[in-house]
């Protein structure tokens, strides 16, 4: 085991793994009848694979990789709409680099750029604001993408644009929220999850209270976790301990960064700029009630959907995902990536068919890059 070199604190990791094994044995978890723990955040998925935690951990503990990678849950129809906006001659379309390769029906943003659209990868919405200032004769559109960690950045940018009375800056808002898809998963009759590892940096913004319903209404433990490997092991141990003691509570393993009430400035900016959409489409999961945000009417001039008459502004037609793609089943934990007929054949990180193959935080890309888990090794 290349344990010692891989972990910053190998002794701690070993001790945690041993304690996990004790509790797993105590609750009778086995390879055949495992405890299913979903890590919600794509950053956690990446960390689990990077350190091989899924292989090191007791065989009775199985990680289910949740829908917490914003690039992976972006539906093809939204990519199509990005391309449509980006193709307009007056538009400078700005986006995080992660979104460039997500396939749309006709093309990805990368392909649209190659075809002549003015698409620019930026690090921050601040860069898009600056582009708008420098190019008053162009329309600068920022592709607002991500969970609660990135939502405050676009909210604050829209407030800034309003203060400066910029008339050539809009946001194509695709911000989504973490608690609602978890609720949708818990309401799924096929659901087989026993507990959750909650996202760290999302919770830094929203705090831990929005997860109360998971413990209270569904009786499932959830532990908000940091993304170092020992953070994750510690959090798994905390989930298992709750199960062993017959408890379900929201616990915070990452209190050194996550305050119980979140970040007040971020929350105020989000509340000022955004309101909930009645529902929003997730790739592989379908429409989920109240899971997406849109720009409030008072900031309408900064809403790309309104300005360009696109997306939910005009009523949308649901469009199918590509043939043979099993992203939905993978995302809900029903099958492993390797069970998708396209895995490694029609779908690789260089030529992704589904979004889970695009980002290093996607379950399929992680399987591909790090050689999968016990399931694959056993094949």
């Amino acid at each position: 085991m290349k344990f010692a070199s891989e972990f910053r604190d190998p002794a701690l990791a070993k001790a945690l793994l041993a304690r996990i094994s004790d509790v797993a044995d105590r609750i009778g978890a086995t390879r055949e009848k495992p405890v299913h723990i979903m890590e919600i955040c794509g950053g956690h998925t990446h960390s689990i694979f990077r350190y091989g935690l899924d292989k090191l951990i007791h065989p009775g503990v199985e990680f289910i990789h949740g829908p917490g990678c914003p690039v992976c849950v972006l539906p093809m129809s939204r990519v199509d709409e990005c391309v449509e906006i980006a193709m307009r001659p007056e538009v400078i379309f700005t986006t995080f680099g992660d979104a460039m390769r997500v396939p749309g029906h006709r093309m990805s943003l990368m392909q649209a750029k190659a075809g002549g659209a003015d698409i620019r990868m930026v690090y921050s919405p601040l860069d898009a604001l600056e582009l708008a200032r420098r190019n008053p004769d162009r329309e600068v559109v920022f592709f607002g993408l991500g969970f609660e960690t990135t939502t405050p950045s676009t909210a604050l940018s829209i407030q800034q644009a309003a203060r400066e009375r910029l008339t050539n800056f809009t946001v194509f808002c695709n911000h989504i929220t973490v608690p609602e898809p978890i609720k949708a998963l818990l309401d799924d009759p096929d659901m087989m999850l026993d507990g959750f590892i909650g996202p760290g940096h999302v919770s830094m913004v929203i705090g831990t209270r929005p997860y109360d319903f998971i413990a209270r209404d569904y009786g499932k433990p959830i532990v908000v976790a940091g993304f170092e490997p020992t953070d994750l092991l510690q959090s798994v141990l905390m989930v298992l301990t709750q199960i062993a003691e017959g408890r379900a509570a929201v616990e915070n393993q990452y209190a050194r960064v996550v305050p119980e009430d979140g970040n007040p400035v971020s929350l105020a900016a989000i509340a000022d700029v955004y309101e909930r959409r009645p529902s929003f489409e997730w790739r592989g999961l379908g429409e989920i009630d109240a899971s997406g945000l849109r720009i409030r009417p008072k900031y309408r001039p900064f809403d790309a959907e309104e300005k360009f008459g696109i997306g939910y502004a005009v009523g949308r037609k649901a469009v199918d995902e590509p043939e043979g793609c099993a992203c939905g089943a993978v995302m809900t934990g029903r099958i492993k990536p390797t069970a998708c007929p396209q895995f490694g054949k029609g779908c690789t990180p260089d030529m992704p068919l589904g979004a889970l193959m695009v980002s290093s935080e996607g379950a399929c890309a992680a399987y591909w890059q790090y050689g999968g888990s016990r399931g694959l090794a056993a094949e």
Partner: protein, 96 residues
């Protein structure tokens, strides 16, 4: 994109827009500090923060900053963030 990267605030650059210069893994870049500002902005100089897509989201202590940076390097995400910053800079320059 979902993981923040630690940076140290080295100067306040634009009081009105709440912008500061942060040093992130050896690279300097302007960031928004609205979410971590409690008193006068100048008090932030020298502080560490977790920075998400150009916004300082949470103050952290230097030890946490060091651990987080190490973990991000292991994951390859520190480099991804630095590449994205360089790409953002290019996007602005192409505009001139």
């Amino acid at each position: 994109m979902c993981l923040g990267i630690p940076g140290r605030i080295v100067a306040i650059t634009d009081e009105a827009r709440q912008l500061a210069l942060a040093e992130i893994s050896g690279v300097r870049r302007e960031v928004n500090v609205a979410c971590i500002a409690e008193g006068p902005l100048d008090d932030l100089v020298g502080e560490w923060a977790l920075i998400h897509v150009g916004f300082a989201m949470s103050r952290i202590d230097p030890d946490e900053a060091e651990r987080t940076l190490q973990a991000l390097r292991d994951l390859g995400e520190a480099q991804e963030a630095l590449d994205a910053m360089a790409e953002g800079q290019r996007a602005l320059e192409a505009a001139k």
